[in-house]
């Protein structure tokens, strides 16, 4: 069945479907069962499945992550939810020293089917402790899968796949994507590890994670007016990484911009640039360009925040520079349309 729903509804639908299909699936974490329901993404679960399968916890991220592991090792499929990925830093010991390792250290005897859902990215004025992405950090550690859905369909399908996976999956959801509406086919549950071309083109490949897909699509519309067609590849899963689809796109366009939703320095964007640089060395028309956040803590003040984050404009100017085009006159254009809509408070 297909329906037109928001990203947040798609998340709630995926959880409900998996909880319905598998009694071992449960959802827990701070605020999952309160009246706000993690921006609506756990809506309806406690009513439908009861407080035993959807419950809030003490403020103990470290221990609760260990609890998720213990439950996963005991035949359950926990989904542990964090309203901000920054809070996961309190749980790094469990994630990095235990969850990612225990299967390997047991010689393959243990399985860890657990999902950690966390919200990333810009709201408004979120500042330095409520805005981090952390996907490059998690993907750095072997044994973790890392997913960044963009469309409601990905939120739905990839979350269902993540819950069914027998491995730990870190599932990172951008706050602004929550209000995006899109068609969701409830039969479409893609495997983890497949990138997807969001918009085909022949001029430049833009490799995007999370919200950068939205910015890149806006940039593509502007550039298309002057005959420059971007090919936008949504990486979707950072680990495992779909190297084939990424390389195939760049081999076709011979140009690549990496637009990662994170700081550039030591980030996942560097991994993509290295992959493309190595695998497409003889094909590339010019060096790979990398876009990332300003390498400073995320500021609060709106003008500084606008400078900190990447936008469609950054992609447009980068592509123009790469292709030797004069900068288009965009003085009347607005690229923070979503940000102007977002009224918080969180």
């Amino acid at each position: 069945m297909k329906s037109l729903i928001t990203f947040r509804e798609a998340l709630a639908l995926a959880l409900a479907k998996e909880m319905e299909a598998d009694p071992t699936v449960f959802v827990f974490g701070l605020d999952v069962a309160d009246h706000k329901r993690i921006f609506g993404s756990t809506q309806g679960l406690v009513e439908k499945f009861g407080g035993e399968r959807c419950f809030g916890t003490p403020l103990s991220e470290d221990a609760m992550t260990g609890v998720a592991l213990g439950a996963a090792l005991s035949g359950l499929r926990p989904v542990h939810v964090h309203i901000r990925a920054d809070f996961l830093l309190l749980a790094m010991n469990q994630i990095v020293n235990m969850i990612s390792n225990v299967r390997y250290m047991s010689g393959g005897k243990l399985r860890v089917p657990l999902v950690v859902r966390a919200i990333i990215g810009r709201g408004w004025g979120q500042s330095a402790q409520h805005s981090k992405s952390l996907h490059s950090v998690f993907a750095h550690f072997p044994g973790l899968k890392v997913v960044l859905p963009t469309r409601p369909q990905d939120a739905y399908g990839l979350l269902r796949s993540a819950i069914r996976d027998d491995n730990p999956v870190i599932f990172l959801e951008h706050r602004w994507l929550y209000d995006i509406t899109g068609e969701v086919d409830d039969e479409d549950v893609p495997p983890l590890g497949a990138a997807e071309v969001r918009r085909p083109g022949d001029a430049v490949t833009v490799l995007c994670t999370s919200w950068m897909n939205v910015e890149a699509l806006m940039a593509a519309e502007v550039l298309a007016r002057r005959g420059v067609e971007l090919e936008i590849v949504d990486v979707r899963t950072v680990s495992p990484l779909d190297e084939d689809r990424i390389v195939a796109s760049v081999r076709k366009t011979r140009n690549c911009v990496v637009a990662d939703y994170d700081w550039g320095f030591c980030g996942f964007g560097a991994e993509l640039a290295a992959l493309v640089g190595h695998s497409c060395f003889g094909v590339l028309a010019r060096p790979v360009e990398r876009l990332g956040f300003a390498h400073v803590p995320c500021p609060t003040s709106r003008p500084l925040e606008n400078l900190f984050y990447l936008s469609a404009l950054d992609i447009i100017r980068t592509v123009e520079r790469m292709l030797g085009l004069d900068p288009a006159d965009l003085s009347g254009a607005t690229f923070y349309s979503y940000e102007q809509r977002f009224k918080g408070p969180f």
């Binding site: 992550t65 260990g66 090792l73």
Partner: protein, 339 residues
Amino acid sequence: MSPRASKRTSPGKRAVRSDAIRSADALAVYRKLVLARRAEETIREEYFKDEMKTPVHLGIGAEAISVGVCHGLPGATKVFGTYRNHALYLALTGDTDGFFAELYGKITGAGKGKAGSMHLSAPERGLVATSAVVGTTIPVGVGAALAHAYQRSDELVAVFFGDGAVEEGVFWESLNFASLRRLRDLLVCEDNGLAIHAPAAERQGFRSIVDTVRPFQCHVVSGDGSDVEDVIATTRRVLALMAEDPRPGFLHFGYFRFLEHVGPREDFDAGYRRRPTPDEARRLDPVVRFEERLRQRGIAEAALAAVGAGVDEQISRSVRAAREAQFPSAAELYRDVFA
């Protein structure tokens, strides 16, 4: 017995020893103590050959806690431990083949050579995981206990950790949640008064661990960790309390660590603690202590010797097999990262 009864009981003072274990079990318990002790004595002898390339945290002096608690646990208990886990592994599995092969880094090891001494596990025998990061398995045990509640299972979880773990935030987070949810989770504190080389007095801003844990809604009982019969009796007591009034249990056992924190040597010359007198050492050595008690109860010297000989033979067979076994193949490097 009221859950408060334990409050009036000071460590190791209860008269429980005479009937703590049936005599039929006594030799089985003795064998486990001797197995753990001689396995570690063997490590001490073999370690200098540089073939066992894994940091060993030997538990000589601590054996009674693992052996005694495991003796008192129901069969299907899920157990979690620390890097000082040899006695725990051997008490639960009796498996010296997988144990030594793991220490030698062989494919026949309990973790196919990927675990080493610090992360030994045997999930199929109840030892789900151990960890080299202090306090780390405590919440994992709580999660297993939560799963049991979810599954309407009365299976028990037991998590072993040292006194240093009590200084980790995750201990209190775990105790809080286990108490809040009244989980069937048995927390076993093996207290040697040292965190590596730092004594409790330099680390802990409270008078006693048990008094600090007691305000939580759990059953707190202490015992003498150098006396295997007291450990068994104390374990049974806390399990009875947990059966009567479903809440987590907290067991506290003091013991003496005879060797250095990590490695096969003594370190009494390092200056941070003194060597026990021969009398003290006899009292603090759980193997010697239980042996003497068995003698007093009329167990024949020949029966004790037979246990020792059987254990020695088992260990030397396992060590030989481990040394002869293959290392993991190159293909093993990338195996078992993901399911």
